[in-house]
Assembly symmetry: D2
Homo-oligomer: 480 residues x 4
């Protein structure tokens, strides 16, 4: 029932001495599971000997106690969770990617999407490179390896390599002796680090993973910053910092990130509650109760209730046993499937005028069914409120919105959408409030291209996101 | 992390004509999953030919699309979810139990616990019976089979058989031509029925399962009532009704049932919110925010907030990928395991005086850790409130509280508990309010033996719940 | 590719003191795997506490090292392998069957088929018994339990119970303190016992299982004999012995048993080689090489070669990786499937006149394809020889030949069969030689009903083998 | 229980038109399973779009009907079975290796071992290549890709690339439009091709795979020959032929290949029977029966019996249910494990002087136990005969004999071995007969380095087989 998929989460740990590092990565990845459910992997570094396990599946399913144990001890490790589209063979694209090279060995894990992937890959292939996956992380591995020949250190090679890349890139690189973290110059995706009580450094896509690993948050990496963790401690390289305008994906605050995470100093829960507050100002409603769509609409619903003075209610029970293996035998339509997962609490809505808050309205299909469930449960009016502005354009920076065709707001007016959703009124967050979610005083800049169509980078030359070239390039590569 | 386990849920459907009945049972059991996660099963009745599939595991894991399909069509079906203690072999005790007998064939599914199990089993064995399981449902199957010899109908046999049984018993019996539902004379466990738009009757432990199967609730069965569903429609036999004082388990309202269910005409969510309201009156607190322990404390927390005027907050994020396969590698203590599942939202609690509401405090171990998480997240004060009275005695009627030893309130004063939990204040629901949760005007009677030690039936002669005799009786049966 | 299926194998062990008994049973069952591949099970008896594990599948797949370990130590154990027809739910019918009864506890495992099953089951049901399976072993468990009430000992109860049964029955019964073995009065199925160097007694369907468990063979049980193993040692009860004419299934020598087993004092390999020798006398051929169909025709082929003086050759290579999971994608016909499993060695047969020996010709389909493979490989003539007489009637005593319809020899003359099989000549063992396979001096009597239609017992009153009543009785049992 | 492991088998098919090619490859690989049991894979080529599935496991387990179906139709396909040592991660090394490159796409599958692997890999890495596996096939993929830049065709690139490689190499390369097969200049490993009735060309490691795919054998590729299959038919490129002395591995005849295969025009079964005949001349015995160790010693035993006039017997029954999942619970020693798999037929050996023929004696451990089993079964004398000469040196050309330490004949005299094995006499094939196994007239040359220590190529510069550098190179690659 989710609308937009994040494409990755990363986690790394550097310990002062050899220890059981795989469990920490396991807990970290488990906390980042919402960022990618297709595949996951861990690479443990024991004094230069790397042990890797990765496979398609959830963290919980892929990593048994035996496998965690088999990864052994080490003084460093990195991990990755990944979302991928159905057309791709998932297992081969799982990360970390491990490179065994005479000029240096490394493991890589990345959250991002490369805009100039096609150009870089062609250039590398013409120089003799062979690719095994369609992952842009493999391109990065080649770039770094190339740069190492004329670099004094692995961090210098990383620094030179990332300078050739356009797009979102929160990257971890582990060499035999160092753990390197990099957040791209625009800071599209979050990446933060912290420290445990026993002195280990932890770096992760979100701070909730630091919590899970028992580390306290130090801070977010600056856009463009490179952190080097090694025996000497941690060093920050800022040569790429401050060159470009920050463009953190605002959808991290609205939907992707976990509410208990803190991104760039702001609580995600607070940003969402604030979205609800703005929404109550932007689109008030005359109603008896405010409810949120579990789980992503709950924070904003609370904010809306607090701002409007309308009582907050628990509107739905979500079946917590829903898992990836859930089947829907004999279901003639999508509607019943929603009901199995989400059942209204009739006591809350019966005979009531209901404000229904969700984080966003992307395709609108699930939303329409939820409204219907409320009406069946006796709601007299349903006032739909989205704590994000209308979603109108595709995303090139690490999510799976690849076409405008399915975006309801890209193809309909608000009145039309209200009719489609069968609601008594419909309101979206005012786009002007987007920049104020994390900091009501504003001043920060975000990527909000999905709401505005204003992209902070050049777009792919082909005009398409690279992964959709798969079948085409397969043919094109056919020389004989 | 759950404290008390319900031991079963049942679901049955009777259709006017042959159709795909297994999917409906699947959805119903899926909605009842919280009542039993150890094993589950479905029996489909196709004109007298029974097809059964049952195994240890969650509904979602046991029933694949192929298995659901293999159960075929039918005009009736029953299903069961079961919780069982670890000592027993789970697969063999899975229900429905199917009996192929020359005097009549039947399938049984039950939610309950028989007080006079040991006496009845001994009596039956001395008459030649052989038992394959330790399930009291198997004793019921013998009793009904015995009674059939001198009965005019299966319902008469059921009626005579249940009269020999003491204890909790919400029972479904399916014969080739009839579906029979029975709720014991005291009504310990809920059992309700409803009807779908296509005219099928559905009977289930809770109304949330009716919702999942697309049926609307008609009403709860009365204590002692037998319903017979057959080609003629539905008939109610009330010969056992009104003979005993109602003793519905009040813990169904407090913890077991799903908040979206309606039991005996009262919304479970409402009963819990009302518990929170009473609690705010009984044990007020001077605080900045009210939060609930997910998921079972959320309803009462909302009630507490509304009654007290203290703002309601989202205090924790529960990792929704936690499943039965979750492992905790390298964890030295239980505390970290809690943190992985439940992470505080620091924005909500940092620098705040927090009222923490949970449905009940049974053993207290998880509770103590949760308090600790709040303090680590910056809460300045933690005022713990339980929306149930102190839990002080064991339960003989279908849950897994088998000894007082582990019950914190049976062994400590409230002050001691407050110290153990490390809270600034501690309050429990006033026992006088228990009878008013479902109906503030009172008048209804409940089983609240766990809070009072006043049991509404005689107790087992052995003084022990039968399942704990397992190893002992194994030895005792050794003649040669 | 096999033609006739045996329906069971049993194994039991009684040790002078507590030890790891499950591994011995595992090895024994593994050696008896050819007698039943559908399900298997083991029950370990630790001073009256029984631990059982059974499931559908091969011994190798069902029993992991962890499961074997979980069965724990004991001073006795029994096990079972089972073949069953597809219509039955396999898991529920797996043995051992364990009975927990106030009058005594026991576990049973049986190889056999009860002729008067229907009568006995009806009688028991009318007395109040409830059956969970269609297994005749469950009927036995009731009979023994009934008899215990007026018996001084478990062996007396077994003795009385088996007296009420007609048919094949090699039975193991384990009580808390005793292991009892019984072979029916006609001795249809083999059952032997032996002793290990550490003083444990082992009883098994075939001596190859004794070898696997490290025991030396003492002797076959006599038809009708009851052996009691307990702390005092072993005692033989012979009250049922010598009352009926021996009717050991001669197909055990011809096909079922493993060639390395010794049954009733005669090597199975020797009996098969002798069958080949008789066959060479009965049906000589003018040929260049004698080959056997792997694996069941190899012994007789060697006997034929030795008797005839025609060189023995290795005619086929059987793919040893064929397992139960083998699939045959894209195969338009059964013929190719045979080729994948069995490939001719062209060097052996090219340009040669070949004598092809198989143990028997039951349905003839696989046989025809094998002949074709030889011709494709260049054989100039193929002379087919069966080391059993024509198979013309159904079997009521523990195998799966349930109808004459598919028996080629019951529906065609030898000339017709030769044409169907496309052979240059066809010969069967002379029925007169059947009684001389194990002992050329004769004197022993066998059940050879499949070759003669002369059944050594009365037949089921229904005229049908009971398992085929399954669907019918399902309907018949429908009272309401 | 096997002694020496082959390291690979390859299979390819080129069809005149699009069809279901995966089943043919499946059957082919299934027939080649004895050449590699660790992993397997298939790549189907549908007009330039490649579909690949590969994993660790047996062909039967890895390829389900669904997976075979998902590979779809195509006009070409290649497949691979692989044996690998335990230290390596198996899944990542599975073949075919698929290369997606702007200069051309291809899939590769190889049976062989590269002597100059380390030098070539270092050279390639210094030019910018990144390797994902330790497989020498990945080195080949780089070499071919490099050569394509200045080549007119894929076959020209293959021809140039293989010229840079020393060692055993039977290689299949599939481009979008062509299937190319290459056998190295010394012809270390077999590689043959044939044609089906529907006009498809099939190329495989052994002819038994052609049989399984319904193709008739045309001939073995010549050492050094490149075959190109495309829409025009098949073309042979012989530029590398005749430059070096043939060095086919003689152990293919002795042990590796399936007896029903024909290699270089000679039946493997015949070569083994001839080995037995020579052995009877070289090392006669005064005995009563000749038996072979199943399955590899059976052909030679038959030859020995025929030459010596001593009767041939079936000495052992091999449990055919032994699979990869077989466990050996509670076994204190290796001896019992052998007995479970192999049981003597006492009738054959009791009281007899036995000639026991095995194909070779490598480590001798299993052999000693087998002799012991015979003595326990009553053999009065055991005369051991090996149909290969003493195995004294390691192998660099595609098998897993990596050290002399475990080779019994490299460390003991024949008398010492006889004592270790506890045999009455011991004889090995005279090394002079090795060259005459396939053709008694001789004239052919073989690699018999394992018997002579005379290696037909230079050895690795490191003096070690590359795979054993794994851990060392892991460390060496650690720059920082």
């Amino acid at each position: 029932m989710s609308k937009v998929h994040e494409e990755c989460g990363v986690f790394g740990i550097f310990c002062p001495e050899k220890m059981d590092v795989a469990p920490s990565v396991y807990y970290g990845l488990f906390a980042l599971q919402h960022r990618g459910q297709e595949s996951c992997g861990i690479t443990v570094n024991d004094d230069g000997v790397f042990s890797t396990y990765k496979d398609a599946g959830l963290v919980n399913d892929v990593f048994t106690a035996d496998i965690i144990k088999s990864l052994g001890q080490g003084n460093m490790a990195i991990g990755h969770v990944r979302y991928s589209t159905a057309e791709e063979s998932e297992r081969i694209n799982a990360q970390p990617i491990v490179v065994n090279h005479i000029k240096g060995k490394m493991a890589l894990a990345q959250n991002g999407t490369m805009i100039n992937y096609t150009e870089l890959r062609e250039e590398l292939e013409l120089e003799g490179a062979i690719f095994h996956t369609r992952s842009d992380t493999e391109v990065l591995s080649y770039l770094i390896t190339q740069e190492r020949i004329n670099s004094q250190s692995i961090e210098e090679a990383v620094s030179k390599a990332v300078d050739r890349v356009t797009g979102a890139c929160s990257l971890l690189v582990m060499s035999p002796a160092k753990l390197i973290a990099y957040r791209d110059k625009k800071g599209f995706r979050p990446l933060c680090y912290g420290k445990t009580v026993d002195g280990s450094y932890v770096v992760a896509s979100e701070s909730c993973a630091l919590d899970a690993a028992g580390a306290h948050l130090i801070r977010e990496l600056e856009p463009g910053e490179i952190l080097v963790f090694d025996k000497e401690g941690v060093r920050s390289l800022k040569e790429h910092c401050g060159k470009e305008k920050c463009a953190l994906c605002v959808f991290e605050y609205i939907y992707f990130a976990r509410p208990d995470s803190i991104i760039d100093g702001c609580s995600v829960h607070m940003a969402r509650r604030r979205a609800g507050q703005f929404l109550a100002q932007d689109c008030p409603a005359d109603a008896d109760v405010v409810i949120g769509v579990p789980d992503s609409g709950l924070d904003a619903a609370l904010g809306y209730a607090q701002q409007s003075g309308i009582p907050y209610g628990l509107g739905f029970i979500k079946n917590k046993y829903i898992g990836r293996t859930f089947i829907a035998p004999g279901q003639s339509n999508r509607e019943d499937k929603v009901r199995i997962k989400l059942n209204p609490v009739s006591e809350t809505v019966k005979g009531k005028r209901v404000v229904l808050v969700d984080d966003s309205i992307v395709r609108g299909t699930t939303c329409a069914r939820i409204v219907n469930l409320l009406r069946e449960a006796g709601a007299t009016e349903v006032h739909m409120r989205s704590s994000a502005p209308p979603f109108i354009d595709i995303c090139y920076y690490g999510t799976d919105i690849d076409s405008k065709d399915s975006l309801i707001a890209a193809n309909h007016t608000i009145d039309e959408i209200a009719k489609i959703l069968n609601v008594d009124s419909l309101g979206f967050l005012n786009p002007e409030h987007v920049d104020k979610l994390a900091d009501p005083n504003g001043g920060k800049t975000y990527c909000d291209a999905c709401f505005t169509g204003k992209f902070p980078t050049e777009l792919p030359k082909s005009g398409k996101k690279f992964k959709f070239d798969a079948k085409i390039s397969d043919k094109k590569l056919t020389i004989e």
